[in-house]
């Protein structure tokens, strides 16, 4: 019972934060709403007994990445942008996308879970010292190649960013 209550609290926080992120006019407010949304997701991780992911979410996303976001927002002059009319009002496209997604959700709601063959549901089992070990097994055994390749991808992106931004290389 308490779990359900907590789940709905965290889920509501995540969704409300996400909606506020895209609807607020001031970029700083957007960033702060995003923090709330990420915090909600972190709570969901905790409820799944993914303590390591929870910590990473807090430290990396809320702690590191969001601070960088805020720095960038402070550095770039956004006052002019905030005063302008921001929203491109193309209702037809938006409605089509929303309708399509809605229809898909309705379809899965009606047909039930049988449409998707998901891996058998695993009951989250709290373990001594958290589930860091199983996470390591997934990252460094099952998905070792993409995990290592991702570091190469990030390197390329950094090189590109420096190349494009720097006047003299």
């Amino acid at each position: 019972m308490t779990e359900t209550v907590f789940f709905y609290c965290f889920a509501a926080l995540a969704v409300a934060g996400a909606i506020l992120t895209v609807t607020m006019r001031n970029a700083v407010h957007c960033a702060i709403s995003l923090i709330a949304s990420l915090g909600g997701v972190a709570g969901l991780y905790l409820m799944l007994h993914a303590e390591f992911l929870f910590a990473v979410q807090i430290v990396l996303y809320i702690g590191g990445i969001m601070v960088l976001f805020l720095f960038v927002i402070m550095l770039v002059n956004l006052e002019a942008a905030a005063r302008e009319r921001q929203f491109h009002r193309s209702w037809v496209g938006g409605l089509l996308c929303a309708g399509g997604t809605g229809a898909m959700l309705a379809w899965f709601w009606l047909r039930g879970a049988g449409t998707l063959r998901l891996p058998p549901a695993v009951q989250p089992t709290p373990r001594e010292g958290g589930n860091v070990e199983s996470l390591a097994m997934v990252l460094f055994r099952d998905y070792l190649v993409p995990f290592e390749l991702a570091s190469l991808l990030l390197l390329v992106a950094i090189v590109g960013g420096v190349m494009m931004a720097k006047k003299r290389i």
């Binding site: 998905y143 070792l144 190649v145 993409p146 390749l149 991808l153 390329v156 090189v159 590109g160």
Partner: protein
């Protein structure tokens, strides 16, 4: 070596490790050991060295497969080395090497010669390695993104050129959108199978009806993302702008290696796991192919910029290659591989000639810049004739061979209408390819243009691409045998 990283894993991954290491080392050496502008040629030597090492690793894999038969799977089914993958690896290696060799003078002339260029080329090839060898969705996706991000940078490499900036931005935005589609399709595939490995997805797809809505959703979105990467209509709108703005040899690299890599993934996905659902995707692919040929060929007719013209021609070529997949018979699939091989060499060759036209302060990509090339550089002019004849698909050049197998596959499987449409558009294509030939041979030379300065790399590149385009046309046996070996599992 341990349970998590076996000797087989190492043997399979070695070429990618070498390429990545040489790529990263180039980035480092650029400012640590060779900081002077003159020393950049050593980085080019480094690229050749890296490719040679990777080539030896591929060669060892190939001889292992020939000796023992079968495939080598590694990392619990995340990577595979089979003749199909090796076919593409050799193609990428050749394309990267040729692109690297012809870049030196162009980058000097355009005043954007930076050592990062050579490192990025090798890192792009590393991404392609995972596209051809990956058999697991996450690996495939990360490999694709590594390649794509490298290409966004390379397309925008002429930082002072507005067209290059615009091209990079358009390619980045539309490319990210298409990646979104692709990864959505992948996520649905994971949803229906509960695994990211292609072998398990194949079992899950086979258990479903071909018109199962969830399956159609997966095929549709993943297909749309891939069509984007191969620049097939109606997902082609980025191609003309990106091709026009990019440095010329990168346009060639984008049109050949990137397209071939995306086709490697497309073929592995659609012939493999999605094969049982052929009923639902065949009409879709046929429509995309016909639309690509229509838009590509008709829009190319009116172009005055050579790079844009070749961009539309590459869209139409994507349509032809897709027809081989629509046919789906062994002949058709063999046709796809043969077509990709000859397309790579003739397109690279054509862009190579265009690259050498660049002069101080201008790109040399207008069709008028080709005027009087016969007088200025007869060798280039004759090779250009070979490439254009081959692109138009006229025997005895290699381009004919590719079209021949595609059409044969179509007729064999009873797709007569598609074969006729393809043949009609092949005739349209002759018109615009010969506009280039006319500019080269017939139209008078511009006053100020002197004789062409040609670097050693350009000579080597021209000799390789030109000789292959001619040789494969008159003596196709080895290529056919290679393609046959690649599709027989």
């Amino acid at each position: 070596m341990s349970q998590y990283y076996t000797a087989t894993d190492h043997f399979v991954l070695l070429p990618a490790i070498l390429l990545a290491l040489f790529g990263c080392a180039t980035l480092l050496f650029d400012f640590l050991i060779f900081p002077e502008a003159k020393q950049r040629r050593w980085l080019l030597v480094f690229l050749v060295l890296g490719e040679a090492f990777a080539g030896v690793a591929f060669w060892r894999q190939q001889s292992f497969l020939l000796e023992h038969g079968g495939n080598l799977t590694a990392f619990r089914g995340a990577l595979v080395i089979d003749h199909y993958a090796l076919f593409f690896h050799w193609l990428f290696l050749a394309a990267t090497l040729i692109t690297g060799l012809i870049s030196y003078r162009y980058l000097e002339v355009r005043d954007e010669h930076h050592g990062e260029y050579y490192g990025l080329l090798m890192l792009a090839q590393t991404g392609m390695y995972f596209l051809a060898s990956g058999t697991e969705l996450v690996t495939l996706f990360v490999g694709l993104e590594t390649m794509a991000i490298t290409f966004y940078i390379l397309v925008g490499f002429l930082r002072a050129d507005r067209r290059s900036n615009e091209a990079a931005l358009k390619y980045l935005i539309l490319g990210s959108l298409s990646s979104g589609f692709l990864v959505y399709g992948f996520s649905v595939l994971y949803g229906i199978s509960g695994s990211t490995r292609l072998s398990e997805i194949a079992a899950a797809v086979a258990a479903r009806d071909a018109w199962d809505p969830v399956l159609v959703l997966a095929v549709g979105t993943a297909g749309a993302g891939l069509m984007f990467k191969i620049a097939a209509a109606p997902f082609h709108m980025w191609a003309p702008d990106a091709y026009e703005g990019a440095p010329t040899m990168i346009t060639g690299y984008l049109a050949t290696a990137s397209k071939a890599a995306s086709f490697a993934l497309l073929l592995r996905l659609f012939v493999g796991p999605l094969g049982p659902a052929r009923e639902s995707w065949e009409p879709l692919l046929a429509a995309v192919a016909v639309l690509s040929m229509t838009i590509g060929n008709l829009a190319a007719v009116t172009q005055t910029n050579t790079k844009r013209l070749l961009a539309y021609s590459s869209i139409s070529h994507a349509g032809y290659i897709l027809l081989g997949l629509v046919a789906g018979s062994p002949t058709g699939i063999k046709g796809v591989l043969v077509y990709l091989l000859v397309y790579t060499f003739m397109t690279l060759g054509a862009f190579l000639v265009l690259t050498s036209l660049a002069r101080q302060g201008m790109a040399g990509d207008d069709i008028n810049d080709l005027r009087g090339l016969m007088k200025r550089a007869p060798g280039h002019a004759l090779w250009m004739l070979v490439f254009m004849v081959s692109l138009a698909g006229i025997p005895p050049t290699a381009g004919f061979l590719g079209k021949f197998y595609i059409f044969w596959g179509l007729i064999e499987t009873g797709h007569y209408t598609l074969a006729v449409i393809g043949a009609v558009y092949a005739v349209v294509a002759i018109y615009y390819y010969f506009r280039i030939v006319k500019a080269v041979f017939v139209e008078p030379e511009e006053a100020e243009a002197g004789p062409l300065t040609v670097s050693l790399g350009t000579r080597v590149g021209l000799a390789v691409t030109g000789a292959l385009t001619l040789l494969v046309g008159v003596y196709p046996e080895p290529v056919l045998r290679l393609a046959q070996m690649s599709i027989s599992r």
